[in-house]
């Protein structure tokens, strides 16, 4: 199989175009004209998307069905010594091509949407600059050939996410949300980095024996190779019963969990909704937050070689999906509901990866499939929510209502996305969710299957709760009454995404993206019926409680009592964090260290300064300014030197 096509050689342009556009727009165009800056940034991403489609078409259209990983472009970035070098390059394999298509598509549509959405914002040019930076970083992450390159871009997406969450930097809540996101993900990345270092250490140690033509010990191909994983799987790490492999995979997963906002590192994502809505759609729904899933998928053979690490992925994913779905039902801020929904759906992707095994890898395909479909319908949900927020100037769903007639196109697209996420045939979510459920049941994880099915019902509830409250019934406020449809430039992305959300499920993902043997395509009918029943039940429940009136919802909330209150307060996770950090860490660790720093370390520095100054004060009096004093010291010194020489040498003869 030969990938000698022209587009393959120019695959590096896919991440490079947004970089060039970022520099051009940020430094040259932005000060000139914000209108041109926005258009140029958008055009660059559209070119990028076109290249990604060409690449995908060429890659997947080759005759063989085993799609090998190809590295068309690479250069040496760091070289420490022979056998320990780090490359930068572009890796083309099924999942990276898939992610490139998703990222460029959603990014291009979000750019287009932002031209309308950010129209009146004074930071218009800055916004597009950041968006381009983000797109570049994300594409670099996706195309990473080794784990160090991935880490570099991993941090870059973190920075762009930070910049965009804190985009309204005059708003205090946005600034603290951006800090929170950055600190939490940085904390998680500490684990990731430690994992990389452990892998690199042992990778280098065994590189000569176990490598098979890889360029360095950080290459994914090497880290995933059976020769390497079996070698370190048999070495004890000394921490619990973990082998070196399990330990490093758990640490790497910590980074993935931070970026993908898995419990208990999920706390930053709901707050990240302080950023502009297009940012939430692009970064905090469709692309960056699935980077963790992508990382686990990238290292899937290594995770699979350590069974316990993969089990942890499965249970963390399953717990997060259930946990976030429960909170999602109780929130009133439309973007926060969507944020918790994102958490829940990423939990799905994680658990699908977790239940997959090298022998039955359906979950791997299912996870990537769900990532693919979720990107479209979740971006659509956010963009539609953005259009609504744009129209009614509030995030609270109880201040909306009756928007179905005021905003018909937004309404239809939102409905399609809601049906897709709920998993109603024939919308996209149905197919990917079915595959996840089938993979969980197929590999004998009954508990996870039950959780997944429950979450499917809860997803339908919280999504149609928003739908019924915001779009049906009577307008509840003055703003909702006078809402009007969004401008055309915002509607086009909505329509495109709605079409994608409707048809993306028909992509035969199994034949494109799989690990090991290609799974059988098609729908498992028993599971499909169960999942659809759960979704319909959820929609019915949402209709029963929220359509038209709220008395039933209020009484239901009262019936659940304390559970409802706890869920409304997000199970007090934020408060627990604050308690742990403020009352324990700050008081017992940080404050003593700060005291030590201020008094002992700074005190030592101040003391040396004080001593020097005092000595200077005293010595000042020797400086009389009179030549005779200096002469005296000179003569005395000379005499002293002569005496020393005399004493040292002595008098000859």
């Amino acid at each position: 199989m030969e990938h000698s096509g022209l587009i393959m050689k120019f695959a590096w342009l896919i991440p490079a175009i947004p970089l060039m556009s970022f520099i051009l727009v940020g430094l040259v165009l932005r000060p000139l004209s914000k209108r041109i800056a926005g258009l140029a940034a958008t055009a660059a991403i559209f070119i990028c998307a076109a290249l990604a489609y060409l690449l995908a078409w060429q890659y997947f259209s080759c005759a063989a069905h085993e799609y090998a990983a190809v590295v068309p472009v690479t250069f040496e970035w760091l070289r420490y010594q022979a056998g320990l070098s780090v490359q930068m390059g572009v890796l083309v394999d099924p999942i990276s091509v898939l992610l490139m298509v998703v990222v460029t598509t959603v990014s291009a549509l979000v750019h287009l949407y932002s031209i309308g959405y950010m129209h009146e914002d004074e930071g218009y040019g800055r916004f597009f600059t950041y968006l381009n930076l983000f797109t570049f970083s994300m594409l670099g992450l996706v195309a990473a050939v080794n784990i160090v390159q991935m880490y570099v871009f991993w941090e870059l997406v973190g920075v762009s996410s930070f910049l965009l969450i804190g985009f309204y930097y005059k708003k205090h809540s946005a600034v603290s949300a951006s800090n929170k996101a950055f600190i939490v993900t940085r904390f998680a990345d500490l684990g990731f980095l430690t994992g990389i270092l452990i892998l690199g250490y042992y990778g280098f140690k065994f590189f000569a024996d176990t490598s098979a033509g890889q360029t360095g010990p950080f290459d994914f191909a090497y880290l995933n190779s059976a020769a390497f994983t079996t070698k370190i799987a048999s070495m004890p790490s000394g921490i619990f019963d973990f082998s070196i492999l399990t330990l490093s995979m758990v640490l790497v997963f910590m980074g993935a969990a931070g970026k993908s906002a898995m419990f208990p590192l999920h706390i930053w994502l709901p707050d990240a909704m302080e950023g502009p809505t297009p940012v939430s759609a692009l970064i905090h729904a469709a692309t960056m937050v699935v980077a963790g899933v992508y990382l686990v998928a990238r290292l899937f053979p290594a995770f699979a070689a350590s069974g316990s690490a993969l089990m942890m992925v499965a249970y963390v994913g399953a717990f997060t999906s259930l946990f976030a779905a429960i909170i999602g039902i109780t929130q009133d801020d439309i973007k926060r509901v969507l944020a918790f929904s994102t958490l829940s759906q990423i939990g799905y992707m994680m658990l699908a990866l977790g239940v997959a095994t090298p022998a039955h890898p359906l979950g791997y395909t299912a996870s990537m499939f769900h990532l693919f479909t979720h990107a479209f319908f979740k971006a659509l949900l956010f963009l539609a929510a953005g259009a609504v927020i744009h129209a009614v100037s509030t995030n609270n769903i109880w201040e909306m209502g009756g928007l179905r007639k005021k905003m018909p196109i937004t309404h239809i697209t939102f409905l399609i996305a809601a049906l897709a996420i709920a998993g109603i045939y024939p919308f996209a979510g149905f197919f990917s969710k079915d595959e996840i459920l089938a993979s969980a049941l197929g590999n004998g994880h009954t508990l996870i299957f039950a959780v997944t099915l429950t979450v499917a019902a809860l997803t339908a509830v919280y999504m149609f709760r928003i739908y019924f409250v915001a779009f049906t019934g009577e307008p509840r406020t003055h703003h909702a009454l006078h809402a009007h449809e969004a401008p055309k430039i915002m509607l086009i992305p909505l329509i495109v995404l709605a079409i994608l959300s409707a048809i993306a499920g028909f992509v035969p993902m199994g034949s494109f993206v799989h690990i090991g043997t290609a799974p059988h395509g098609g729908i498992n009918h028993a599971i499909a019926i169960a999942a659809s029943a759960a979704a319909v039940l959820g929609i019915a429940a949402a209709w029963f409680f929220y359509a038209g009136q709220t008395a039933r919802a209020a009484s239901a909330a009262k019936a659940f009592g304390i559970i409802y209150l706890a869920a409304k307060q997000k199970f007090y996770i934020d408060e627990i964090y604050i308690f742990i950090t403020k009352s324990i860490l700050f008081r017992f660790v940080a404050s003593p260290i700060a005291w030590f720093d201020r008094h002992i370390v700074d005190g030592g520095v101040n003391l040396s300064g004080f001593l020097t100054r005092m000595t200077g004060q005293r010595l000042r009096y020797t400086q009389t300014g009179q030549v005779q004093t200096y002469g005296f010291w000179f003569a005395g010194g000379l005499l002293l030197v002569m005496l020393i020489i005399w004493a040292a040498i002595g008098v000859k003869s």
Binding site: Q623, T624, G625, Q626, V627, Q628, G631, F632, A635
Partner: protein, 110 residues
Amino acid sequence: MIEFLSSLTPGPHHWLVLSSILFSIGLYGVLSRSNAVGVLMSVEIMLNSAAMNFVIFNKYISPGAVDGQIMAIFAIAVAAAEAVVGMAIFVAIYRRCWSIDVSTMDLMKD
């Protein structure tokens, strides 16, 4: 008596001691005189003691040559020129401060 005295020919040590005494007197003067002219005179004494060393060593180490004497004359000429410059500076200082007391000159302190 005369013969005894004439037999006491001074050797190099005597001359060098004389030169050292002159140098020390000059150094003492430089460090202790408060009148600038006095300081200058003391410097001249020190210079002369150094010039004297040239002559002494010339006489006792290479009596045939005159290098030391030439150097001594050279030093005297330089000292004369230097004295002129020094006096000129004192005149300038006197015009400015109405005093040539070196103990009041402490501009270097600032």
